[in-house]
């Protein structure tokens, strides 16, 4: 990053402008390109993918009209929302009402700074990377609470308060579940954590020991809760609160909330991938740095997108929990178990400071067994169903 700015200054493209100003321009332009070109389209495409995946789970077709297989649906939706009237309720707190969506988007945009796409593709490899990631994503709560309060609508208010309670509570198990990995690696840097793992599954922290396996699951669920995803979509619980904190929003501002929600899926996936799934690690097949970086980028994205897909799949399967159950799940189950994980990992590390490779193989084998059982169940349901039953012969 710094080299790039130095090069630009040296090239004299901007004449005699002070170096800091050039740096600011470069950063703004670059981030605009990154967010407008990568993050926002990603959120949009995820919305389409989610609708298609969800539709298949529900025996439906899903959006398939705009573009090939409906691929451009997200663009059509975006254009529609931008063209819509931006309704601001008369009795609302106008300033807060307007700011709220931007804060939510901010919380979605900031984590991309430490997103470790590959061994070199990272905007800023901070030494507190993972801490930064979890803390900036929590800014969402401010925006959501603000939206709920400023709408001057009781449903929105309940939604906002629910969201605040939920995000603040689930920060704790999420934070505690990061500890085992930090204990094992001794670093908070994203790249450092990834480098401590190998490309093979048995070297991933997911399978490093039983505690990290549990920690990974807790972190994933907590992250879903922070991202307001089913089964924790209480703040916008459609059947209870109409649309929760977003009830009064329309047009672009409404879209911002949902763009952030879909975009957050990538961030959730990236956190898990980095911490537990070996990040961008790929076998050294080439000495060419560019080729390796591309392969690593693909590896990272495949893992993240798989997790994004799983979250859609979960959304298509599970019902929503109630607010008191949400709280008891967090405080009665996740927090104690996370502590156990932390202590367990600490003991594990104390016994095997260099890690236990046998445990990795055993855990990986267990994971395979689980997957096989799962596939068997899937085939069982598939066999039993007779979906080819149609009463209208032409359909």
């Amino acid at each position: 990053m710094q080299e790039l700015i130095n090069n630009i200054v040296a090239a004299g493209t901007f004449g005699k402008m002070p170096e800091t100003l050039v740096a600011a321009i470069v950063i703004i332009v670059l981030s605009a390109v990154v967010f407008l070109g990568i993050a926002f389209p990603f959120a949009g495409i995820v919305s389409w993918v989610e609708r298609r995946v969800w539709a298949r789970i529900q025996s439906r077709v899903g959006p398939n009209r705009v573009g090939p297989n409906g691929f451009l649906q997200w663009l059509a939706d975006g254009v529609k929302h931008v063209c819509k009237e931006d309704v601001i309720p008369t009795d609302s707190d106008h300033q807060l009402f307007k700011i709220a969506p931007y804060l939510v988007v901010l919380a979605f945009v900031l984590p991309w700074a430490v997103m470790p796409f590959s061994s070199s593709l990272i905007l800023a490899d901070m030494n507190v990377g993972i801490l930064y990631m979890t803390s900036v994503t929590a800014i969402t709560v401010v925006g959501v609470l603000m939206a709920g309060w400023a709408s001057n609508d009781k449903w929105s208010l309940i939604g906002g308060i629910r969201s605040a309670a939920q995000i603040v509570s689930y920060e704790i198990p999420a934070g505690l579940s990061i500890f085992p990995v930090v204990l094992m690696t001794g670093t908070l840097s994203m790249q450092g954590i990834i480098r401590a793992q190998g490309w093979a599954p048995q070297h991933w922290f997911l399978f490093a020991n039983p505690f990290t396996f549990v920690a990974a699951n807790i972190l994933y669920v907590s992250a879903l809760a922070e991202g307001n995803r089913t089964p924790f979509d209480l703040p916008e619980a459609e059947s209870e609160l109409v649309a929760g904190f977003a009830t009064e929003y329309s047009g672009m501002r409404y879209l911002f909330f949902f763009m952030a929600e879909w975009g957050n899926l990538f961030i959730i996936g990236a956190i898990i991938t980095t911490l537990f799934l070996g990040g961008w690690q790929f076998p050294q097949v080439s000495n060419n740095a560019v080729v390796m970086n591309i392969l690593q980028l693909i590896t990272f994205n495949v893992k993240v997108l798989f997790l994004v897909f799983v979250s859609m799949w979960i959304r298509g399967t599970l019902p929503r929990v109630r607010i008191d159950q949400l709280m008891s799940l967090c405080w009665k189950y996740f927090v104690p178990i996370s502590f156990v994980n932390m202590i367990g990992t600490a003991i594990w590390v104390a016994i095997w400071p260099e890690g236990n490779s046998v445990a990795g193989y055993i855990m990986f084998a267990l994971g395979i067994v689980l997957a096989v059982i799962f596939i068997q169940r899937v085939m069982y349901y598939l066999r039993r169903s007779r979906m080819e039953l149609y009463f209208r012969p032409t359909i």
């Binding site: 539709a55 298949r56 789970i57 529900q58 025996s59 439906r60 077709v61 398939n64 799949w313 979960i314 298509g316 399967t317 599970l318 009665k332 189950y333 799962f374 169940r377 899937v378 085939m379 069982y380 349901y381 598939l382 169903s385 979906m387 080819e388 209208r392 012969p393 032409t394 359909i395």
Partner: protein
């Protein structure tokens, strides 16, 4: 059950039931979707896939209408209006108006049941949207037309015979049900309620 056992039982239950649920949804990735896109993604028109008994928008074949007014009387919602005049000398019944208010019609099928020739019948057409309420009134008579007189034997007029055949098929379907599939004997006496009444009424007209 102790509190500790319950605690772990809860965790076990949650994990296993979610596992099962995910398996069910995963199996749906490998199944065909059940919905079809309306209307342009199936090889035939939707109307043609509908069963014979489908109750769509009403239609009247005036060629075989006897002008008996059975349908008008049967309609609980008064959406059918018929005007008939009988010439005192020639004894010919002339239908001068046969209007159906499609907006009001609730597609109950009570009008097509007593029809002796199947002149008024439901089609499989259901797309009736239009821009004005006025255009939703189906006016079947433009010029006054002579009512059809049922003949003793089979219909001889080549123009009317196919229409009557269709009409009688409709009547048979409704009055007696389909052909009985397990050797059922269909009793003719159980035709549409009070079929005789209608004939009397027609005779009076």
């Amino acid at each position: 059950m102790g509190a500790v056992a319950e605690y772990f039982d809860n965790i076990k239950n949650t994990v296993t039931t979610i596992f099962e649920g995910m398996a069910v949804t995963a199996s749906h990735f490998m199944r065909k979707p059940y919905t079809v896109q309306y209307p342009d993604r199936i090889p035939v028109r939707v109307q043609d896939t509908l069963p014979y008994r489908y109750r769509g928008i009403l239609n009247v074949d005036l060629e075989i209408c006897t002008g008996c007014l059975a349908c008008e009387r049967a309609c609980p919602i008064d959406c059918i209006v018929i005007a008939c005049e009988k010439d005192q000398k020639t004894k010919i019944l002339t239908i001068s108006q046969f209007d159906i208010d499609i907006i009001k019609c609730m597609y109950c099928g009570l009008c097509s049941e007593p029809c002796p020739t199947g002149a008024i019948h439901h089609t499989s057409e259901f797309e009736g949207a239009d821009f004005s309420t006025e255009s939703m009134i189906r006016r079947f008579v433009t010029d006054p037309i002579d009512a059809y007189k049922p003949k003793k034997g089979p219909e001889t007029d080549e123009r009317i015979a196919p229409i009557l055949n269709r009409g009688m098929r409709y009547v048979n379907e409704f009055a007696q049900g389909g052909e009985a599939w397990n050797g059922g004997v269909v009793d003719d006496g159980a035709a549409a309620p009070g079929a005789d009444d209608e004939e009397e009424a027609a005779a009076k007209q």
